[in-house]
């Protein structure tokens, strides 16, 4: 597979150079995706697809452009590539945009990241159906269930890249996810619902279907009879799944593009004690069987472990070659891989017990953050923390503040990193948070 893709990418580079490109980069990809979805005792949807595409970057006469197509019919592909070079010529020169320097893709790590599971590749209809049935059985084990939709999603992707200055590489991975969404009869016309999905590159790292669906059902049951909590300033405990998304918001503008464009509150934080000493974040592309592991990034930069925040001090941000040059920063990588957030020693229940009272957030609903200022306001669902435990369920509330300020008031970190996300975040505890409710 990878030899074929490398040949396709190499052919494209040759055509681009022959058509007048000074430099070129091409990536050929193929993916297979299978989805079985099962609802309330019956198979609802089967989708089985294979997709191919070619993406190229063209550098000609100080100019640059990028193109991609799914139409790989040879004649049309040939004219598409020649046209790509012609379009590039119609642009204005951009002195900062250059082909990636070869030293950035030299010494690529050769670790076996174990991202391909042959068991995924040999899954058949019967196996997927048996998982669906097991998910469906466990998800509907309660009299209040109105409907439950379960799903199994698996597949594989391969890509190969070739450049005119000597890059040649390929990457392949598989994935397998199982999950269920459950809707329960609540008071009046209301329905309580939640879902739980778990996945990994290897089938063996995904929990049993029954466990996943039971988790989805439990998460839905605790939503019954939720109400609006009070407007208050209080402690906030964020569970690991929701913490991964909050970390994502924090890190959204932690990159050279946002900084160079004046749209990042991280700009003035590099080298500073910006956040609580409890916060440490590492970008780690080399985790064995990691969901976002890789040997090189989209530009071809060799993978390496990158500390972002150490004990609250900002050490690095995401820097690609273009914005690095514009901002005068050394390239690190332009696109995040696995993000490991340093865990603490306490369990979630110990954190709740220490906090005593406040609000325990289990999921977000909408909201946004302004990357320029860090100001945020998010909808939430969760529970009141009463006597050191998760108490009555609440919803229809907002939490509002500033991300830098919030993470400077991070007072504790749990021992429970959430494994089913590229962001491996544990439960987080914050002091003095503004909530709006009744």
């Amino acid at each position: 597979m990878s030899a074929d893709l490398i040949e396709k990418a190499g052919d494209a580079v040759a055509i681009l150079v022959a058509a007048g490109a000074d430099d070129a980069w091409a990536t050929a990809s193929v993916s297979r995706d299978v989805e079985f979805s099962y609802r309330d005792g019956a198979l609802e949807k089967v989708q089985d697809t294979t997709s191919r595409s070619l993406a190229v970057q063209v550098y000609a006469d100080g100019r640059y452009s990028s193109h991609q197509t799914t139409d790989l019919q040879p004649d049309r592909l040939h004219s598409f590539l020649r046209e790509a070079v012609a379009i590039t010529g119609a642009l204005e020169p951009d002195p900062e945009r250059n082909m990636i320097a070869a030293e950035l893709f030299a010494n690529r790590p050769l670790d076996d990241l174990d991202l391909v599971d042959s068991e995924v590749q040999s899954l058949d209809r019967d196996k997927r159906l048996s998982w669906c049935v097991a998910l469906d059985d466990a998800a509907r084990k309660h009299t209040r269930v109105i409907s439950a939709t379960s799903g199994v999603y698996d597949g594989s992707q391969s890509s190969a890249s070739v450049s005119s200055n000597g890059f040649s590489g390929s990457q392949e991975s598989t994935y397998c996810w199982k999950g269920a969404s459950v809707t329960l009869r609540d008071r009046g016309d209301r329905r309580a619902s939640d879902s739980f999905f778990a996945g990994a590159p290897h089938v063996g790292d995904v929990p049993e279907a029954g466990v996943i669906a039971s988790t989805a059902l439990e998460r839905s049951l605790v939503r019954l009879d939720a109400d609006k909590g009070p407007t208050m300033n209080a402690a906030m405990v964020v569970d690991a799944r929701a913490a991964a998304q909050l970390i994502g918001r924090l890190m959204g503008p932690a990159n050279a593009r946002s900084i160079q464009q004046g749209r990042s509150f991280w700009a003035e934080l590099i080298g500073e004690q910006a956040f609580s000493p409890k916060l440490s974040i590492v970008d780690d592309p080399l985790i064995i069987r990691g969901l976002a592991s890789r040997h090189y990034d989209r530009e071809g930069i060799s993978a390496k472990v990158l500390p972002i925040v150490e004990n609250g001090v900002v050490r690095n941000v995401y820097v690609d070659t273009y914005y690095g040059r514009k901002a005068g920063m050394q390239p690190t990588t332009g696109d995040p891989s696995n993000r490991r957030i340093a865990a603490g020693r306490q369990s979630l229940s110990e954190l709740l017990s220490d906090v005593g009272s406040g609000l325990y957030v289990t999921s977000w609903l909408g909201g946004n953050a302004d990357g320029t200022t860090g100001d945020f306001s998010l909808g939430l669902r969760g529970h009141m923390i009463e006597n050191g435990q998760a108490g009555r369920p609440v919803g229809e509330m907002n939490v509002t503040g500033n991300l830098r300020d919030l993470f400077s008031r991070l007072t504790a970190v749990g021992n429970d990193p959430y494994p089913y996300s590229g962001t491996l975040a544990p439960s987080l505890v914050f002091a003095d948070v503004d909530f709006s409710g009744v």
């Binding site: 809707t183 016309d189 300033n233």
Partner: protein, 513 residues
């Protein structure tokens, strides 16, 4: 690919749906289709996709070899161009072609789906066999001839985007850039983003119809950053439509830029409102996001046939004051959400979801309209040939009411006006929905007093409908480039509303006592 899927699984799978502005910022009443049989060999869409009637019939036979209630082939060719300008030069120029055919077979509520990007007969037959595996009954005889439905004219353009060179677009981007930079000395960064799309659709259905549609789309965005006294603020504006190059008049571009500048500069004086419950005035236009989140998604029939929507048992009931009428209409010419035909080949029209305060209709696709035994509302949409269709909104708006904007503001003692938005989301079952207000105003003692910024507002759909106590007579559609996401599929939508008062919502804020 994997990251997209993971994102969908992690965040959007739980019966929730979102509407957003571009990522870098962080029924249709069924008209009876008029069928005019055109001579098939001349059909330019068949030529475009390199297929003929015999090939379609052959693939359809394979697709329905194990039975079908209905089935369709969805051919799509999309050519897109994206440009962005930063620091006064084009920093990104991208073009893309996506082409393929999606094959679907439906039996009852069961769907088999496959697609291929290789439009040769062997590849299409292989994909058809994969999709057909969902069924296990008797083969259906496919139509030997297809009736070509009349071509729609909601967004006919004189020059297709494929024929517009980059040299004709660059001056427009430069105009945005220089006007924004000249607007105020505090403005130090301007990003301009351009997108144009030229799309051809051809749908062949098991009941013997061939539907074709040529869909243009364009969007222009200005993102402005200003620094004043050590403080930096960013704001944006954008315009989008199914239009061609001639739509971009200097006046239209300038007014979009001025809006982006105004929205940014006002942020220096803006603050967070106090936290908690208060009356919220929704400014005319973009506040249609309320309708999209609070009721539109909840009335999509897939959530209702499964019983998962809070609205599942409310049809025919009074859900709002008698002056509240909420429409979804795909037939407003040139709108971003407009469609001649939906992605199942059903003609779009006008669906009153709420009429005079009464809940009147869901938004149906072919599966739900069969189950409910009603006419399809032309709401079956999909992101691309890679996706099976489901009920979606097109252009969602509220009709004019009896009040004026001034009367509405005068009626509020202490509350806010919500004016511009970045995104919204809804939890279908609980009915809780949110939208994020980028710009707004504080209202004190019936007067607009100070600008506010960056607050999330959260409410409950049916409760908020009941709490609409005043509706203005100044309805307008927003011209912004909204994109709706549901189950991982993105489709363009429009929305609009007159000035509306919701008597009580929960406003994110600071300064909690």
């Amino acid at each position: 690919m994997e990251i997209k899927r993971r994102h969908f699984l992690g965040h959007v799978a739980a019966g929730s749906a979102v509407v957003t502005m571009p990522a870098f910022l962080s029924g249709c009443g069924a008209n009876q289709a008029i069928q005019i049989a055109e001579p098939i060999p001349d059909n330019p869409f068949m030529q475009w996709f390199g297929v003929d009637q015999a090939v379609i019939t052959r693939v359809m036979a394979e697709l329905t070899a194990h039975g079908a209630d209905f089935a369709d082939l969805y051919f799509q060719h999309q050519r897109s161009n994206n440009l962005s300008m930063e620091d006064g030069i084009v920093s990104r120029a991208n073009s893309g072609i996506t082409q393929g055919v999606g094959l679907r077979v439906v039996i009852g509520e069961q769907t088999g789906y496959a697609f291929t990007e290789d439009l040769t007969l062997p590849s299409m037959l292989a994909a058809a066999q994969t999709a057909a595996a969902i069924a296990n009954s008797a083969a259906i005889v496919p139509p030997q001839a297809f009736n070509v439905k009349k071509t729609g004219d909601l967004y006919t353009t004189s020059v297709p985007w494929a024929d517009v060179g980059i040299d004709q677009k660059l001056p427009l981007l430069k105009r945005v850039d220089s006007r924004a930079r000249a607007a105020d000395p505090t403005i130090n960064k301007v990003t301009v983003a351009w997108s144009d799309v030229d799309e051809r659709i051809m749908i062949a259905t098991l009941d013997g119809h061939l539907i074709t549609d040529h869909r243009p789309m364009t969007r222009l965005t200005a993102l402005v950053t200003a620094t004043k006294g050590g403080e930096t603020q960013s704001g944006y504006s954008n315009i989008a439509a199914r239009e061609d190059l001639s739509w971009y008049t200097s006046e239209r571009i300038d007014s979009m830029v001025d809006e982006a500048v105004d929205r940014t500069l006002v942020l220096f004086d803006a603050r967070r409102p106090p936290a908690g419950e208060m009356p919220v005035i929704l400014a005319a236009g973009a506040s249609g996001i309320l309708l999209h989140e609070a009721i539109g998604h909840g009335l999509e029939a897939d959530f209702n046939r499964k019983g998962t929507s809070i609205y599942a048992d409310m049809m025919g009931k009074k859900v709002a004051e008698s002056f509240v009428t909420i429409i979804d209409q795909g037939t407003i010419p040139q709108e971003r959400g407009a469609l001649n035909y939906d992605d199942e080949g059903n003609e779009c029209g006008r669906t009153a979801m709420v009429e005079g305060g009464i809940l009147r209709s869901y938004l149906h696709d072919s599966i739900s309209s069969r189950q409910y035994n009603v006419a399809a509302t032309g709401s079956g949409r999909r992101q691309s040939y890679r996706h099976a269709p489901m009920p979606r909104m097109t252009c969602t708006f509220m009709e004019d009411g009896p009040h004026t904007r001034d009367e509405i503001i005068a009626a509020v003692d202490h509350g806010i006006i919500a004016e511009t938005y970045t995104n919204g989301q809804v939890q279908i079952g609980a009915g809780d929905y949110t939208f994020y207000v980028k710009n707004g105003w504080l209202v004190e003692n019936g007067k607009v007093t100070a600008p506010i910024r960056d607050v999330n507002i959260i409410g409950n759909g049916p409760e908020s409908l009941q709490r609409i106590t005043m509706v203005g007579n100044d309805a307008k559609l927003d011209t912004g480039g909204w994109t709706c996401g549901k189950n991982g599929q993105q489709v363009p939508v429009s929305q609009g509303i007159p000035t509306v008062l919701v008597s009580n919502m929960t406003v994110g804020g600071e300064n909690v006592g």
